[in-house]
């Protein structure tokens, strides 16, 4: 028999299914993967080091740039860590807004995750559908924060501003006639909450469309069932979290187990998988979107009835209103000090974790009492998941590597920081 040697191939960093700039060195025996060695760091921006030379407030927008498919929840972990060190109270309305935005981002993330996962393994149509719904959420984010992706909306002590009373509307142009514009603007005639409520009513229908497209699709099942199986014990050993852990049957969700903000007042369920394969994790994500939709509805109802402040009135942490600042000397000083020197965070260390759409996202902030972080460690869910790829793909065929990369919901901005 001829002596056949294993050979090594490069998967990425310029590969459409590598979800960014992942370089995966695969050792193959024929078409079977013997070993996978992910090389990361091609998107390393040194966020942790940069934070050390910026004030506590200037660091905040960096957090959006970590996971650029669900941006704002990363800010949440940072704000929680800083708030814990400062000991400030967040107004209840701001907590509801945060929960609502986080859940919107969860839908945003899972839509991209499922859409591109299907695209990677051959179902072209999915991504067109999911991006249609993503557009609505981006519109909400744009109306709310002024920018579609990197919102920089949360602040230590609350959120930057209250929800807007109106949505931007389409205008007539040479591509859109009066009739089209009227139809498009129908849902946008009310406030942001009205638009979002309209979306939450439409969303379950969309979600059932995805089920029709994929869940019983024979090709989809052939590509995902029994692929990338991980037992609950190994998932714990590997430090998995989020849908990667729940797909293996462990019912662990920080929103339920260690509730932050107002998650303890919300009524929702945690979906778990059974087999721990790509298909189960897909089903978990599908169900999580519906549960997120439920939470958004509850938030909308509460936010409609309860107006109030959205950021703390401690002016050592949050700026005073423009009106007050222009009328009072003391408030002017507060404003000036806050935006030049920045806030001082008491010495200490805090590890604040949230249930990010991808898993546990945490910020470990260390302060020595200065106006800048002494050290900020970012834990993102992507790192352990990508580290686990080797174990997930061993013994599978080369084509299954794409299915596994899709299922771990990989975003390199999140992994490389």
């Amino acid at each position: 028999m001829a002596d056949v040697k294993n050979y090594t191939i490069n998967f990425g960093p310029q590969h459409p299914a590598a979800h960014g700039v992942l370089r995966l060195v695969l050792e193959l025996d024929g078409e079977v993967i013997v070993r996978a060695d992910p090389h990361i760091g091609l998107l390393h921006r040194g966020t942790e080091k940069l934070a050390e030379s910026r004030t506590w407030l200037q660091t905040l927008p960096f957090l959006d740039r970590l996971d650029y498919t669900s941006m704002i929840p990363s800010e949440h972990a940072y704000c929680l860590a800083v708030e814990r060190l400062l000991g400030v109270e967040v107004p209840i309305r701001a907590q509801y807004i945060r929960v609502m935005i986080d859940e919107m981002s969860r839908i945003l993330n899972h839509l991209l995750s499922i859409g591109t996962h299907a695209l990677d393994i051959g179902a072209m149509t999915m991504v067109l559908y999911t991006f249609r719904e993503r557009e609505d959420i981006f519109d909400v984010l744009e109306a709310l924060t002024g920018i579609r992706m990197h919102g920089a909306y949360y602040r230590p002590g609350g959120v930057y501003r209250d929800l807007p009373d109106q949505m931007p509307k389409y205008k007539e142009n040479k591509f859109k006639n009066a009739q089209t514009v009227k139809e498009l603007n129908e849902a946008r005639s009310g406030s942001l909450l009205d638009f979002l409520e309209d979306f939450t009513n439409r969303f379950p229908v969309y979600q059932s469309e995805y089920h029709t497209l994929l869940t019983d699709n024979r090709i989809w099942k052939q590509r995902t069932v029994g692929i990338g199986v991980i037992s609950p014990e190994r998932a714990l050993q590997k430090g998995f979290s989020g849908p990667m852990l729940r797909g293996s049957g462990i019912e662990w969700d920080l929103r339920k187990k260690q509730p932050y903000e107002v998650y303890d007042r919300m009524d929702f369920d945690i979906p778990v998988g059974v087999n721990g394969d790509c298909y189960d994790r897909y089903l978990v994500r599908m169900e999580e979107m519906l549960q997120a939709n439920r939470i958004i509805k509850q938030c909308i109802e509460w936010l409609r009835q309860n107006p109030g402040p959205v950021i703390t009135d401690d002016h050592k942490v949050a700026p005073p209103s423009r009106e007050k600042m222009k009328g009072s000397m003391e408030e002017l000083i507060h404003h000036f000090k806050l935006f030049s020197e920045g806030m001082h965070v008491p010495a200490g260390e805090a590890y604040a974790a949230i249930e990010h759409p991808k898993g546990e996202m945490a910020v470990w902030a260390v302060s020595d009492g200065a106006n800048k972080p002494y050290r900020m460690r970012l834990h993102t869910a992507g790192i352990p998941h990508l580290a686990g790829v080797d174990e997930l793909v061993r013994g599978h065929m080369l084509a299954d590597a794409t299915a596994v990369i899709g299922t771990i919901d990989l975003v390199l901005g999140d992994v490389d920081r």
Binding site: Q258, Y351, A387
Partner: protein, 200 residues
């Protein structure tokens, strides 16, 4: 939550006694400093003891304490965040490297597999060596990178920059051409600053 964490503190003292530092409960989390010589034994017991049961190592990161205000002590530490799914509690474990010049800490990779990449990262960025790690390569920085960028004596702008050289027709490294600058200085204020009273 606080009562639960106090119970965790008591449990830690009961299980380990003198083998660990005093557990500190601050900012809603329990932190414990482990002496380097007991690190592995204690870590293993933290995972296996049914009364503690820390199944997951969520995070491990290095820290360089050399410029920490008012700090006198060893320079490098590896800090892990443990999570127990069974008991639903967290613990921060800190272990200091004995030697500041050549920091070495034992690897917990055999106890929690997830430590693999975290330890590679702490080695890459802080130069902490993890004894017993089977694959201690650099992970985030470039192939052939020199130095450990997250150390406090490493400038934010670094030492070298990359550009395409049209003559050599390839990407080359050259010394940096940018001036490091600090827009807002780093300030630590005295106790009670800006609180009114005392400063007229």
């Amino acid at each position: 939550m606080s009562a639960k964490l106090e119970r965790l503190c008591r449990q830690l003292k009961e299980s380990f006694g003198e083998r660990i530092g005093e557990p500190v409960l601050a900012f809603g989390q329990v932190t414990v400093v482990l002496p380097a010589e007991n690190y592995l034994d204690v870590a293993r017991q933290l995972r296996d003891d049914p009364a503690l049961r820390f199944e997951q190592l969520m995070d491990l990161g290095g820290i360089d304490y050399s410029e920490f205000t008012g700090y006198q002590g060893k320079r490098y530490a590896a800090v892990s965040q443990l999570l127990s799914i069974t008991h639903n509690w967290r613990l921060t474990v800190k272990v200091f490297a004995e030697d500041d010049e050549f920091p070495v800490v034992a690897s917990v990779m055999d106890i929690w597999n997830s430590a693999n990449w975290y330890e590679r990262e702490a080695f890459d960025l802080f130069g902490i060596h993890f004894e017993g790690h089977v694959d201690l390569r650099r992970i985030l920085t470039d192939y052939g990178f020199v130095g450990h960028p997250y150390r406090k004596d490493f400038p934010v702008s670094g030492y070298v920059e990359m550009r395409y050289d049209p003559e050599q027709k390839r990407v080359i490294y050259q010394p940096i051409t940018i001036e490091p600058r600090e827009v807002t200085p780093r300030i630590v204020r005295e106790e009670g600053y800006g609180k009114g009273g005392g400063r007229g």
